[in-house]
Amino acid sequence: MIKSGQADVKIVLLAGSDEHQFITAFFNLFRTARLYDPNNNVYLNQSSRFYDIFRRLADRTGEVPVKIIEGRVLVGDRLVRFDNDGLIGATYVIDSWRLLGIGGVILGKNLDNRQLDKFIYLVAKANIRESNNEIVAQRLVELGISGVTLLGLEKREDAQPFLPEDKKRQLRQAARMTFFRSISTVEDILAKARESREIDVAKARRVVHTLIDQLAEDESYLLQLTALRDFDEYTYVHSTNICVYSLTMGIRLGLDRQRLAQLGFSALFHDLGKIRLPGDLIRKPEVFDEHDWIQMQRHPELGVKTIFRNMELNEFAARAAIVAYQHHINEDFTGYPSLRHKRPLNLFSKIIAIADTFDAMASGRVYMKRPIPHDEILRKMMYQMSVKFDAFLLKLFVNIVGMYPPGSLVLLTSNELALVSQTNYRNPQKPKVRIIGDESGPFQKFIDIDLADPANAHRRIDKIVDPHKYNIDTRAIILIDD
């Protein structure tokens, strides 16, 4: 055990390939069970393969516990780190189990194939509104499934596995490098596109790949960095932010790697058309007048032309073009540009439209000319602009950024000023924060705490603080390492 900050931390081992293979197959089996009946060959083949993997593991370790703690999956005492394909099944199952009140299962050594299939179908088909873990446990008994033990949702005070501090630091550092490299790459690509030179698609894809890999590890660091908006060339930061938000949504939706890469690519280039607008217009500090708006509303069409002119046509280019064109059209087709045929919006366009609106309003650099606090943005998007967005995707987005998005400055009831570092999906009102000061002044050493920790019961978020009003440079806080 080592001590770090306020909490004891247990060092957790990372899962090896056996555990990784096991959990990926396990989660995929649940998803398959939702779509096919138990006699279907697709399910039978997957089940048979999974059972072989389970048997190998069980023969080595005895029973196989699978626990979900704060969205992280452990097999035994080993933390599973997912690649994107594994994340597809994981995210889905984690959420489903949470809704049923299931915090994990223990698969007994003597569990046979039939019992396993019964268990899978029982949970996969459970009606979330009518079931909970007790009902599911009761059904296990009724069905004679003795080889499976259900675990309830673990409370926070139980020993929670964290990543070691140096690993966290590495991830933070990697997130920063990836983020700023993305900004730099976008700048480079757009500069060349401005000169009508070919767009370096491979370079853009590399950046997107790195962002995806980073988000798959831990999305919170990159999401935190989206709060850094104080740059001279906002366009590049904005594109990177949209990319981060969009990819996070794409991962939650379970898009495969190829489509995630296309989504990220489309996000990077959604505003490509702006390079053909006057720079003075883009950088204009005052509010736009009607004439400015008319010019600005050309950028979707200009984006399509630039993409088609400068890129070879393939899925990436086509996706990027449709997003460039559609991201301001709105779900109710009241946006721009006007359409000859009102076709359903592309999925990526819908995702990026949400991310784009949020970031544009949060930055105060493009449309509103003043940054708007996150909660106000969410309120506007949910209530005043709701018909503009896909309702489900908007919900997903809010789920990601949370009530207090990473990078938000908040005042705690303990009269401490803090920066939100990570959303707590189980308890959105109590994220992880970094306390940076109190009324006596800024702290010499920042303190990282988890508001959901009972030890911090005396601390709640009182209000969101607009850093611009109080001349606070959140960038300085986000980029500081201890």
Partner: protein
């Protein structure tokens, strides 16, 4: 230990040395052929064994060599066999293979390298392929990663910064006052003012924010708790929605999408420069559609330009002309040559799609389309183009006729094929010029094409080829004529029999003709056959004897009464041979009658 290391290095050298060669050999055969599969499996087995023994296997990739444990284990020998150069140019400068690099991973790795080397569609970026494959036991390092390590540290963390107050901008007294105001519960700045919220109504309207809250109202309470409780948690119905979304998105078609987008932006230009740019883009994409074998999508773009051109009409003649040019270019030599390359690469493109695409172009493209035949490798595609030209070239036979004077035999053959398909008097008149062409493959093509046509004129033309010196041509023409005559009458056969060259035909052919004539010629045929039967009073030539024998066989199958009578008369002949042949013929007729009964 050193010995083991040397052994490993030697094995690595061997494996890397064989890599490209194995890929090239497997690429030469169809996927399901056991030979390449066996070769691949043997190679990948050895590769995996090597990795298992030596993992982690770190290979550094340089422009022309690969390094393992600071030693060169592979060096490129020739441009055709340059694995290091290939990987380095793709952007890789290192590969690490770990213990869990298993056979499945290895085969996937092999497969994607093969796709990359063979430049298969969608396999142009090796690093993207590796990333998408996400092989657990393989890590790759790129040139970009190396650059990242030296990345400008300006944005990196500022660890150890003792000045923690740096997050307060300015750090002067007024800044400190502002900081202190954060903790002041009554600070007016903490609450949004009315004017702040509604400052930019134009922006709000452009962004679609509903003008729900009038200016004079008190600023709304920021009720984020309501947001959280209403929408934060995803429910089961949301999970079902995820599945729907994923399945809908899987139907995305880049070509259809591009075509739809082009349609949208084509209707939005503000001036000719703008419009011209869009048309140029359409032309570019049209070529890409063709390269990808998406003829329907390519055709859609042509239709789009034609439709818009018709609408632009007299109002915008410059725009209409620009579109006409674009369509003409699309049906021109350069673009159709791209089409030919694609058809040769993608043999599965359907003839129907091809015909529909060619039908978009006017008669001006007929010559070029005829030339297209020269380049097509697939018989199916050539047939489709010929059929197309037969239909669309009917009123423009002159264009096709020009090709019959070409020096290249296959060009002449193609033209002949088309003319034969057209079969109009003008086309047949042109074909006549080819009856004496020295190249038999041309004449054979004419025969085969005309034989498929069921009309009299084509069959009449075929009678010209009954006299061809090439036996296959002669026989094919004859069979076609006979087949026609058996259902349509004997007129053509009469012409052949009366021709001076009849006797010069092979006996088997003469017999076929006579037999067919007997079956179809009725009483008229009996008259002729009787003359043949009675040939020579005292002596006969060999030829006469042959014809005599054939005539009795022919009379045996002639269904008329006249034939019966003639045979009855001949059965009483004083010449025993004639008498016997007549009786045999009568018996044949009787047997045939009884069988019919």
């Amino acid at each position: 230990m050193a010995e083991k290391s040397d052994k490993t290095k030697h094995e690595i050298t061997q494996i890397l040395g064989e890599f490209i060669r194995v890929i090239k050999i497997t690429a030469m055969y169809p996927e399901d052929n056991p030979l390449p599969r066996k070769l691949r499996d043997s190679f990948t087995d050895r590769f995996v064994d090597l990795v298992q023994e030596a993992a982690p296997l770190l290979l550094e990739i340089r422009p022309n060599e690969i390094i393992y444990q600071q030693e060169v284990v592979y060096a490129d020998k020739s441009p055709e066999d340059a694995l290091a150069a290939l990987l380095y140019k793709a952007g890789l400068n290192g590969i690490t293979l770990r213990q869990d690099f298993n056979l499945e991973d290895c085969q996937k790795f092999f497969s994607l390298l093969k796709s990359y080397i063979n430049k298969e569609p969608g396999a142009g970026d090796l690093i993207a392929l590796l990333w998408e494959a996400d092989l657990p036991g393989l890590t790759y390092h790129t040139v970009d990663d190396a650059l990242l390590d030296e990345y400008d540290a300006e944005f990196l963390s500022r660890s150890g910064d003792p000045v923690r107050e740096s997050f307060i901008k300015g750090a002067d007294d007024s800044s400190k006052l502002e900081y202190a105001a954060i903790f002041d519960a009554d600070d007016a700045a903490a609450l949004p003012s009315q004017s702040d919220l509604f400052e930019d109504t134009l922006a709000e309207s452009k962004m679609g924010i509903a003008p729900g809250t009038p200016r004079k109202q008190k600023a709304p309470v920021i009720d984020t708790a309501r947001i959280v409780s209403e929408i934060f948690n995803l429910e089961k119905s949301d999970m079902a929605r995820v599945d729907e979304i994923i399945q809908e998105d899987a139907l995305f078609d880049p070509y259809q999408t591009a075509a739809e987008l082009l349609e949208e932006i084509l209707w939005q230009p503000r001036d000719f420069t703008d419009f011209n740019e869009i048309v140029t883009i359409i032309e570019k994409l049209q070529t890409e559609f063709i390269k990808a074998g998406k003829l329907r999508a390519a055709g859609r773009l042509i239709n789009l330009m034609v439709e818009y051109g018709a609408q632009a009409g007299t109002d915008r003649p410059q725009w209409a002309r620009r579109l006409q040019e674009a369509v003409a270019v699309a049906g021109g030599r350069e673009k159709l040559s791209v089409l030919a390359d694609t058809l040769n690469r993608e043999k599965a493109i359907s003839p129907l799609d091809l015909s529909e695409y060619l039908a978009l172009f006017g008669w001006e493209s007929l010559m070029v389309i005829t030339d297209l035949l020269d380049d097509l490798e697939s018989q199916v595609h050539r047939e489709a183009v010929c059929d197309f030209l037969a239909v669309h070239g009917r009123d423009h036979v002159d264009f096709i006729t020009r090709a019959i004077y070409d020096k290249r035999w296959y060009v002449v053959r193609n033209a002949a094929s088309i003319l034969a398909r057209i079969g109009s008097p003008k086309a047949l008149a042109a074909l006549e010029k080819l009856l004496t062409h020295p190249e038999p493959r041309i004449r054979l093509e004419i025969v085969r094409r005309l034989a498929r046509k069921g009309d009299l004129e084509s069959r009449r033309f075929l009678t010209n080829l009954v006299w061809d010196g090439d036996d296959l041509i002669c026989r094919t023409a004859l069979e076609a004529v006979i087949e026609f005559c058996l259902s349509e009458g004997s007129e053509l056969l009469t012409g052949i029999i009366n021709d001076d060259r009849f006797a010069g035909l092979k006996e088997a052919y003469q017999e076929s003709i006579i037999m067919a004539y007997s079956r179809t010629g009725g009483d008229q045929a009996v008259e002729y056959l009787a003359r043949l039967a009675a040939a020579g009073r005292f002596w006969t030539t060999q030829e006469q004897e042959f014809l005599q024998r054939v005539s009795f066989r022919a009379l045996a199958v002639n269904k008329t009464e006249a034939a019966e009578k003639e045979l009855a008369g001949l059965a009483r002949s004083w010449k025993r041979k004639v008498r016997n042949m007549a009786q045999a013929a009568l018996r044949h007729r009787e047997n045939h009658r009884q069988e019919a009964v």
